[in-house]
């Protein structure tokens, strides 16, 4: 392979600044999208477990729609197609006056997509709470909201912490698709550095390392969270015979 390596490019200005700015955009997109996905996904996950038919139906429709369309396609649809199906004035507002249109669209799109995955985790968590507890709640005279508030949610959410970690990690990695609609996040900045310096391998190596560091930090934090929230007896019991 004929390639002239030059690692110095990574610490020279303005390229170092581009990498830092790209990292900041990646963190901003991923964190905002995660907050949105966690909130919306929890609500939809809960909706899918309620005994109320229309709510369940809505939740299922949402999950199937957003989970089954590739994220890349969704980015394109939200950015290019969505403003066109709106009434003319609204579409124009989205395209021209929306603050930071690329960034906002990326956060919303990633948030909606990830919410469908969180919803599935939440649903499986709630379903994993032993049925006996539910029956006990009902027998004790708790209303449906009370059963959720005091039994299902506290247990269900703790059960799914480990699997939510991988969705949290996926948000950081999926945020790289925002470059297709023009957000200058980490991957886009790496391409930009390649464009200016023709040192693409160095730029993408740097991006790889930064992604790894970010995800490693997330893993460490989530392991702590997991250890704190573990329900003694409940999680352990799943492995053995009930």
């Amino acid at each position: 392979m004929s390639y002239n390596w030059n690692w110095g490019v990574l610490v020279s200005e303005p390229y170092l600044g581009w990498l830092i700015s790209g990292t900041q955009w990646t963190l901003a997109i991923a964190c905002l999208a995660w907050i949105m996905a966690f909130t919306l996904g929890s609500l939809i996950g809960i909706a899918r477990t309620t005994p109320i038919g229309p709510l369940r139906w809505l939740g299922t429709a949402y999950v199937e729609l957003f989970r089954n369309i590739p994220l890349l396609v969704q980015m394109f649809l939200w950015f290019f197609v969505f403003p066109e199906v709106l009434p003319r004035d609204w579409g124009r507002w989205v395209k021209r006056d929306l603050p930071m249109p690329e960034f906002t669209t990326a956060v919303l799109c990633l948030g909606f997509y990830t919410a469908s995955r969180v919803a599935e985790q939440v649903r499986s968590g709630l379903n994993a709470v032993p049925k006996g507890l539910l029956a006990a709640g009902q027998a004790g005279g708790l209303t449906l909201p009370q059963i959720y508030r005091y039994i299902l949610l506290p247990l269900g959410f703790r059960i799914i912490v480990p699997s939510l970690t991988s969705d949290f990690l996926a948000v950081f990695k999926n945020s790289s698709l925002a470059l297709t609609i023009g957000v200058m996040e980490l991957t886009a900045q790496s391409r930009q550095i390649e464009n200016y310096t023709f040192q693409g391998f160095e730029a993408f190596t740097a991006a790889t390392v930064i992604y790894c560091v970010i995800t490693a930090i997330v893993v460490v934090i989530m392991t702590r969270v997991e250890a704190r929230l573990r329900v003694p007896g409940l999680l352990g019991r799943q492995q053995g015979a009930l």
């Binding site: 004929s2 002239n4 403003p83 690329e102 470059l179 297709t180 200058m184 391409r191 464009n195």
Partner: protein, 293 residues
């Protein structure tokens, strides 16, 4: 006694490998030509929407002015290697991937619309220049945009990873044009879409690419291509560095096409439908690049 038998077979195979006579000419091969001969395939990089240089035709097969030139190079490679049945594998590339894919050996020759720059020559090599163009601006007729200065307080789409992107950004900075909103997109098709859907007021890239895109557009009558050339963009076919033999083969092929005047027929085939006439700038470059045998 299995083990010694295997050893004997290995030794026999090794001896056989050395004993097979190789043609004298083939022994001198190195670099890309050798790689092509050994693999039995030449990997041709092409663009998907770089009209009319390198694009998909109705059957989703690569076609265009650069692709035609490349296919002549492929013919020359077949003759040189005496491999009439050499397989051609087309690999789509885009401005962000084309240099790494050449450098890492995935693509042997890129037939697109790549500007020959000295900076890029640190990573890849280029053939003779076969086309000469520059950056202009395409906008809606009623937008009032004629020159780069008119982009003040307007939005413009640029394709990430192109020389045109750099040229426009440099012009904006140099001329201190205030409040230009830049939308980075990933290819020409997306840039055109952004312009058609009124997400941006203008799209700046190679003049000839703009003509091709305008021709494809559903609102072509509303689009105008204007402005002075903001950059000097000579196009070359891209190949790996440090490979004089392969470059010589490419340049010999190109010089033959330029010298015989066949280049004008190829030009008309692809550029006349887009309404782009031959200019003296192009005639001159072909004359200069028609190196004598």
């Amino acid at each position: 006694m299995r083990f010694p038998r295997i050893m004997a077979a290995l030794v026999a195979a090794a001896v056989a490998a050395f004993a097979v006579p190789t043609p004298a000419a083939a022994q001198e091969l190195y670099g890309t030509l050798r790689k092509i001969r050994d693999a039995g395939v030449i990997k041709v990089g092409h663009r998907e929407s770089s009209v009319p240089f390198s694009q998909f035709d109705q059957n989703r097969r690569p076609a265009g002015f650069s692709v035609d030139l490349c296919m002549r190079v492929v013919d020359a490679v077949k003759r040189e290697l005496n491999m009439p049945n050499l397989r051609v594998e087309f690999i789509p590339v885009n401005p962000s991937t084309r240099i790494p894919l050449i450098a890492n050996g995935t693509v042997d020759i890129e037939c697109g619309s790549t500007t020959y720059t000295l900076g890029r020559s640190r990573q890849v090599d280029f053939s003779s220049i076969f086309y000469l163009t520059g950056t202009q601006i395409m906008s809606r007729q009623n937008s009032g945009i004629r020159e780069v200065e008119d982009l003040a307080n307007k939005s413009v789409a640029l394709v990430l990873g192109t020389t045109n992107e750099r040229a426009v950004k440099a012009a904006i900075e140099r001329l201190r044009i205030p409040n230009v909103k830049v939308l980075m997109v990933k290819d020409h098709a997306e840039a055109l879409l952004a312009l058609e859907t009124d997400r941006v007021d203008a799209y700046a890239t190679d003049e000839v690419v703009l003509w091709g895109l305008r021709n494809q557009s559903r609102i072509k009558d509303q689009l105008v291509i204007t402005g002075r050339l903001l950059s000097y963009d000579p196009y070359g076919l891209m190949l790996r560095r440090d490979d004089s033999a392969f470059r010589l083969l490419i340049n010999t092929t190109l010089a033959g096409i330029f010298r015989s005047g066949e280049i004008e027929q190829m030009f008309r085939k692809w550029f006349e439908p887009a309404g782009i006439p031959i200019n003296d700038r192009l005639r001159q470059i072909w004359e200069y690049m028609a190196l004598p045998e």
